[in-house]
Structure formats: C-alpha cells, structure tokens
C-alpha cells in the first residue's frame, strides 16, 4: 500500500477506474461458469483483492463503490434486492479483507487466506439478509450449502489472484510505477 497518504491521489484515479473496469469485466466472465441461480462466484472481487496492495483506504473504498454501482448499472439490478445483497456482501467482504490485510503481519496470510475470509464474511451477510428480507427464517436450512459453496469459490478466487500476482508482468510494472 502506498505509504504516503490516506487520501485519494488524483494521479492514481485512472488506475482506480481501470481496476473498477476489471472488476466489471471479471463479473461478466463469471457468466461463463455454470452456477445455481441463487449463487455467484464473486470473480469481481479478484481485482479488489489485488488492489489491496496498490491503493490507500479512500481509493479502495472508491474502487468498491465503482464495483458495486457499476455492477448494478451494467447488470440493470441497481434498484433491486440483488443490488442490496451484492453491495452488502461486497462491503462486508472488503471490511474483513482489509482488516486482515492491515492487522496481520505481511507474509502471514496469502491472497487465498484473504479471499477466504472475505468470501465467508460476504456469504454470511448475504445469508442473513436473505433470511430477514426475502425468504424468511426458514431459509436457514440452505445456509450450509450457500456457505460451503462460498468457501470453495473464495478459495478458487484467492488462488487465481495469487497466480496473477506472482506471474502477471503487467501487475508488476503497475506496482513499480506506483512505488517510483
């Protein structure tokens, strides 16, 4: 993370926007994978996971906002319960990932661990909201399935992010550009 400030640097705004676009791009690629209608893999979180190392907290929050509002507009779900669930899940996931990233010494937790923590937070919040707002308390019976699938997808996304982080030359150059 840039040590310099806790502000949004105007020079980094295009990169924040580009990571936002990447999130939307990955969200669209997600449709290539067959999943139950009530479940999403959360591929859009992959750029957010990688961005933890690039941006300040306000920039990350801006990226999160671009991701959730962008998904709402691109998918057309901005004014539906799907948006509420998705944005609450994304926020919970971000808060947990950021806390783990900042509080635990570097090198102790990989992107797989961060992604898993975020995914569990996101799914727990979405299950809770679904029970309260949509399906009622009886829907708790599907919670283990939902959380189980969420754990698997969290592991997969973390693994993908770890591979990208290690092998992507583009990411390495962007990071070098950020630190210089």
């Amino acid at each position: 993370m840039p040590a310099s400030s806790k502000k949004v640097a105007p020079a980094r705004l295009p990169l924040v926007a580009f990571f936002g676009a990447l999130s939307l791009f990955f969200a669209t690629l997600e449709y290539l994978f067959p999943t139950p209608p009530w479940f999403r893999l959360g591929l859009a979180n992959l750029p957010l996971l990688l961005a933890l190392d690039f941006f300040t907290l306000p920039e990350l929050l801006l990226l999160l906002l671009l991701k959730v509002v962008g998904q709402g507009i691109v998918n057309g779900t901005l004014a539906s319960q799907a948006f509420l669930l998705s944005s609450s899940g994304s926020l919970a996931s971000f808060v947990v990932m950021y806390a783990v990233f900042r509080l635990i010494p570097k090198g102790w937790v990989s992107l797989v661990g961060l992604s898993l923590a975020g995914s569990m937070a996101s799914n727990a919040v979405q299950v809770g909201l679904s029970m309260v707002l949509i399906f009622g308390p009886a829907s708790g019976i599907i919670a283990p399935w939902f959380l189980g699938l969420g754990t698997l997808s969290g592991l997969g996304i973390g693994w993908g992010a770890e591979i990208l982080k290690r092998h992507s030359r583009w990411l390495r150059r962007v990071k070098l550009g950020q630190s210089s």
């Binding site: 580009f18 936002g20 676009a21 209608p37 009530w38 998918n75 057309g76 004014a79």
Partner: protein, 211 residues
C-alpha cells in the same frame, strides 16, 4: 436472473427515453410495487417490469422467476400463520403464510424485472464520481471487446496483453487516457413520455383502486 450479458441485443426503450427519466420512472414503479397492499397490483407491476426488461434487450429467464417466487413461497409456508387450508401429512398449510410468501415472491421478482427494464447502461451519474464512472465504463467496454483475445491455453499471457493494450505500462508507451467523451443522449420522445405517463397512471390507479 435475466441474462444481461448479451450487450448486443437492441434496447428498444433507449430510443424513446432519456436514461435519467427512465431511472426515475423505474423508481416510481418500484415504489408502487413495494407499497401496494394487494398481490394483484404487485403481479401487474411485475408483468410490466417483465415487458420493459424484454423491450430493453434483457433476456428474462422465467425459470429464474419460478425458482425465486417458488422458494420464497415454500420458505414462508414453513412458518404457518392464519387459517389452515389443508394438512400435508401433519403439517398445516396456512392461508396467511402462502399469501405472504406469494406477495413477497412477486415483489422480489418485480424488483428485478423493473430494475432491469429501467436501468440503462447510458445512465450518467452526477459529479466527479460520475466522471470516474464514465471512465470506468469506457474501459469496461474496451475490455469486453477484447474478450475474444483471452486464450484458455495461455490465459495469463493473453490477459496480460489485454491489460497492457488498454492500460499501457511499458516504457515509452502513450499516456493512459483519462477523459471519456460520450455524446449527449437524445431527449425523451413524445411516445416515450406517453409510455411513462400511461404506465405510471395505470400502476398508481390499480394500487389505489385495489386497496
């Protein structure tokens, strides 16, 4: 859910309505949907939402609607209240639980359909966040055009090349574009205003008349 991923399908409402008016119209319909006391009104608004979503080029998946509404009804039925209609073995199926579940299911499906029909990709957001969103959306569209260049056998390399194309980082590359210019959207046409007025009047009249 409706399949919004096929962006090449024609949005027939886009030629009639300005995205901001369309968004506001959607909010009014959503208000009627959520506040209407009778399920018949909610069903009517949900159907209207389905028509609007189809007109806007979204493919509505009726299996999604059935699964969503059905699941809501089943889960509500598991918590009985009100008059017992009949017994399933020793389990009482109650009028209150079924009606509550049905109303909720219609509302949830209606929220998605109306949202799909009235949220346009051309919607401009105000302020600096709106400018940033416009830039993000422009890059998203460019990335989508490069989707065919993702090769599963060399996925990292191909993704890296795509990223480098749109956000150059190599020494000597041209600077990254920070401005996105979209021409202003055409204003709402007379048939567009008519559609908005008529559908809103019908929805509100139904909600008030069926109280």
């Amino acid at each position: 859910m409706a399949k919004a991923r096929n962006s090449k399908r024609l949005d027939r409402l886009d030629v009639l309505l300005h995205p901001t008016l369309r968004f506001l119209w959607g909010l009014v319909l959503l208000g009627v949907l959520v506040l209407a006391p009778r399920w018949e009104t909610r069903a009517a608004v949900m159907l209207l939402g389905g028509v609007l979503a189809t007109l806007s080029g979204k493919r509505i998946s009726f299996s999604y609607f059935l699964i969503l509404a059905g699941t809501v009804v089943v889960f509500h039925a598991l918590a009985p209240f009100g008059k017992v209609l009949f017994l399933l073995g020793s389990f009482p199926l109650t009028e209150g639980a079924l009606l509550g579940g049905w109303k909720n299911g219609l509302t949830m499906a209606g929220l998605v359909f109306v949202s799909l029909g009235t949220i346009s990709r051309q919607l401009r957001l105000p302020g600096r966040f709106g400018e940033l969103w416009a830039l993000t959306f422009s890059w998203y569209e460019q990335l989508m055009e490069s989707k065919g260049r993702v090769h599963p056998r060399a996925i990292l390399l191909s993704i890296d090349r795509i990223l480098e194309t749109h956000y150059p980082t190599l020494p000597g590359s041209p600077p990254v574009g920070t401005q996105e210019h979209r021409p202003p959207h055409a204003p709402t046409t007379a048939p567009g205003w008519f559609l908005v007025f008529l559908s809103t009047l019908a929805a509100v009249t139904l909600a008030v008349g069926l109280r």
